[in-house]
Amino acid sequence: MSEAAPTSFVRREMVAAGPPPHAKTGGAARALRARLFRGPVNAILTLLSLALVVALAWPTIRFLLVDAVWTGSDREACLAETAGREVGACWPFVTAKFDQLMFGFYPDSQRWRVVLTYLIGALLLGPLLIPRFPFKLANAFLFFVAFPILAFVLLVGGMFGLRLVETNLWGGLLVTLVITFTGIVGSLPLSILLALGRRSELPIIRGAATAFIEFWRGVPLITVLFFATYMLPLFLPGNWQVDGLLRVLIGVVMFSAAYLAEVVRDGLQAIPRGQFEGAMALGLGYWRMMGLVVLPQALRLVIPGLVNSFIALFKDTTLVLIVAIFDLLGQLRASFADPNWATPVTLFTGFAFTGMIYFAVSFGMSRYALFTERRLNAPR
């Protein structure tokens, strides 16, 4: 075997050090080149994108800030002729319409009730969103059960010495938030029941839950709102008077419950069989098995999905303007009709302002969904 020795190779000196990894050298300039200018195609793409960004961002900044009109009392201030220059956003329009966009025609003297409701809601919601905060169960009870009752008393009034404020005076962001919040609070319990029903072993209950869910998911929300607004009164006993806003709320709750139910069902499906079997072996009945063992785990799993559904619900509230309920967008549209503020820039100003509100709320919620998702995926 000794003649085989020459074919084997033994290195006698050290290998020269190789170049450092690509990304770690040359600092910012190098990184920039690697990310933006690798190859001619990439360079062209970068330049085109840069042109696109500049072409979009600069006019936007000019419109919103540089050319904007900040003070004034009517349309005169926002006309190019009076300003003597090109005119951007007409912010006095927003100032003038701000109260309407926020409260609709809720009486001036009673608006503290709305603000107080917001404050209490925020105080209860804040700790609920922070995972480290203790007393989650009590907090959730306060927010989902006690707060709605309190909010109802405060906003509607007619008791405890509070003046009654008819819902047809409500409008703007107030209505948007009321519909979103009622939609969430009302549909969550219903959706859990529906999800349990759809996974039930009893064929009739399963069939009924499935049919209910598929029906609401199969039709556009606007048909539901039409149905609720114009046809619900036909199906109720003649002497029942249902408030216009309440009709819409019922439609929204049904619709949203069907979508939430599918999210909750996802969570139920993700719970391993062993959990059910373990609970049954402990002698727990159906409701205690679900309530104590399965649902707490399932709901925690679907928090991101639930928050995403809440975002969809928040965006969908705008549809109520089609059935003549003045939410934020509806109130905005109504404010465009004011001849005192009719200028070429009024429309863009109004859309910019409300757009920022919608974006801030949805974006905030979607970031929170992402945060909870990361928390779930993090190794424990």
């Binding site: 970068t46 048909t223 039409f226 199906f235 705008t318 549209r333 429309l347």
Partner: protein, 391 residues
């Protein structure tokens, strides 16, 4: 001791799971039946002597519709109104699906680009569009953007064939004449022949292992043959390009501002969701698949075509179909800007006029439900077909 605890329990029959489940289900049926009876009784009492039934469908509608794909006038029946609305809905839905798919795939792939700026722009687009309500965007396009467009005389021209003005978008239209039917027949023949040839080649490959590419044969059969007939028939197709005459355009087809606003907003909105679906689909293919494919010596294009795309599509298609369905349902928002889709002309105008809202909204809901259920059936079939068969 034992006896006492037994006495405290409910009767034995209720502890029997079979009996208990029967009781629950009977109770549910009873509740549903009671609800339905109540609804019917109330509806009857509330409607009083008003007519019901579907006879109204054959009455003359008596109102105009500003966009009709089929002949329609004010003396047409409500059934015709239904058809006109349905076609208008389908028009927006089909165009929207095509454009949203193109834009959505471009943005979705752009988000995964190695070019930092491109990825950021695509990401910004998705975030901005997804976080604003669709109705907000529809109204924004319709009320704000399209209202500042110039008059036809100063219309914005796209290469001299399309003109954008306050009256909408004037687009060129293909005008076929009689000979076109032969071209269509030749194309139909080409399609059938290509399918037959594909089956033949597949059998050949299975029998002998010889691989023959279908691409060229398909091109000749479906492209060359119709082209030959087209030339032989004397080019029976004319492009009708719009021209400015006086204060307005003649020629071509006008897309009204309502259609335009609805189409643009539905396209951009759905594209943002499609982009996320596409991104998730591509990221969902394990890295090892691509590495293994390149280890096998496949070229980049082959990896895309044979490994990445088929696996990504399996993830992409179900949620993509869902987005298509959402887009179709969202066309009903056209009512907010006066686009005459099914919902606006039928559940809106017609329901107002006939005082038979129950029937009309019922029909409308059934249309949307049928669309949804058909789509989900199709999806179940597709999922069953592409499911990984584990052996």
């Amino acid at each position: 001791m034992r006896r006492r605890s037994d006495e405290a329990r409910p009767p034995a029959a209720l502890s029997n799971p079979k009996i208990r489940s029967a009781v629950y289900q009977v109770l549910l049926i009873a509740a549903v039946v009671w609800l339905v009876v109540q609804i019917v009784l109330n509806a009857r009492a509330n409607l009083g002597t008003r007519v019901s039934g579907f006879d109204f469908l054959w009455q003359s509608a008596g109102f105009g519709i500003n966009q009709t794909l089929i002949p329609y006038d004010e003396s047409s029946t409500y059934a015709r109104v239904f058809l006109v609305g349905l076609l208008n809905t389908l028009l927006v839905a089909v165009l929207g699906i095509v454009f949203a798919t193109l834009l959505g795939f471009a943005v979705g792939i752009g988000r995964l680009s190695s070019n930092w700026l491109v990825a950021r722009i695509a990401g910004g687009y998705v975030e901005l569009i997804r976080n604003l309500p669709l109705l907000f965007q529809i109204l924004f396009w319709y009320l704000a953007v399209l209202s500042v467009l110039p008059l036809p005389r100063q219309a914005i021209s796209f290469f001299g064939v399309m003109f954008l003005s306050i009256r909408g978008l004037q687009v060129p239209m293909l005008q076929p004449s009689e000979g076109m039917i032969y071209v269509a027949a030749a194309f139909a023949f080409g399609v059938v022949a290509t399918i037959a040839e594909g089956i033949r080649l597949k059998r050949l490959r299975e029998r002998t292992g010889r691989q023959v590419s279908l691409t060229w044969r398909a091109l000749v059969l479906m492209g060359g043959l119709p082209l030959l007939v087209f030339v032989a028939a004397g080019a029976p197709l004319k492009l009708d390009v719009p021209r400015l005459e006086g204060f307005n355009f003649t020629g071509g087809v006008r897309m009204r501002p309502e259609l335009l606003a609805l189409l643009v907003s539905l396209t951009t909105y759905t594209a943002a969701f499609i982009a996320e679906v596409v991104r998730a689909g591509i990221l969902g293919v394990p890295r090892g698949q691509i590495e293994a494919a390149s280890a096998l010596g496949l070229r980049r294009a082959q990896i895309l075509r044979l490994v990445l795309i088929p696996q990504a599509l399996r993830i992409i298609v179900p949620p993509l179909t869902n987005q298509y369905l959402n887009l179709t349902k969202n066309t009903s928002l056209g009512i907010s800007i006066g686009y005459p889709d099914l919902f606006a002309v039928f559940a809106g105008t017609a329901a107002n006029q006939t005082s038979q809202p129950i029937e009309i909204i019922g029909i409308t809901m059934v249309v949307y439900l049928t669309l949804s259920l058909a789509t989900s059936l199709l999806m179940n079939w597709y999922n069953a077909r592409v499911r990984l068969t584990e052996r």
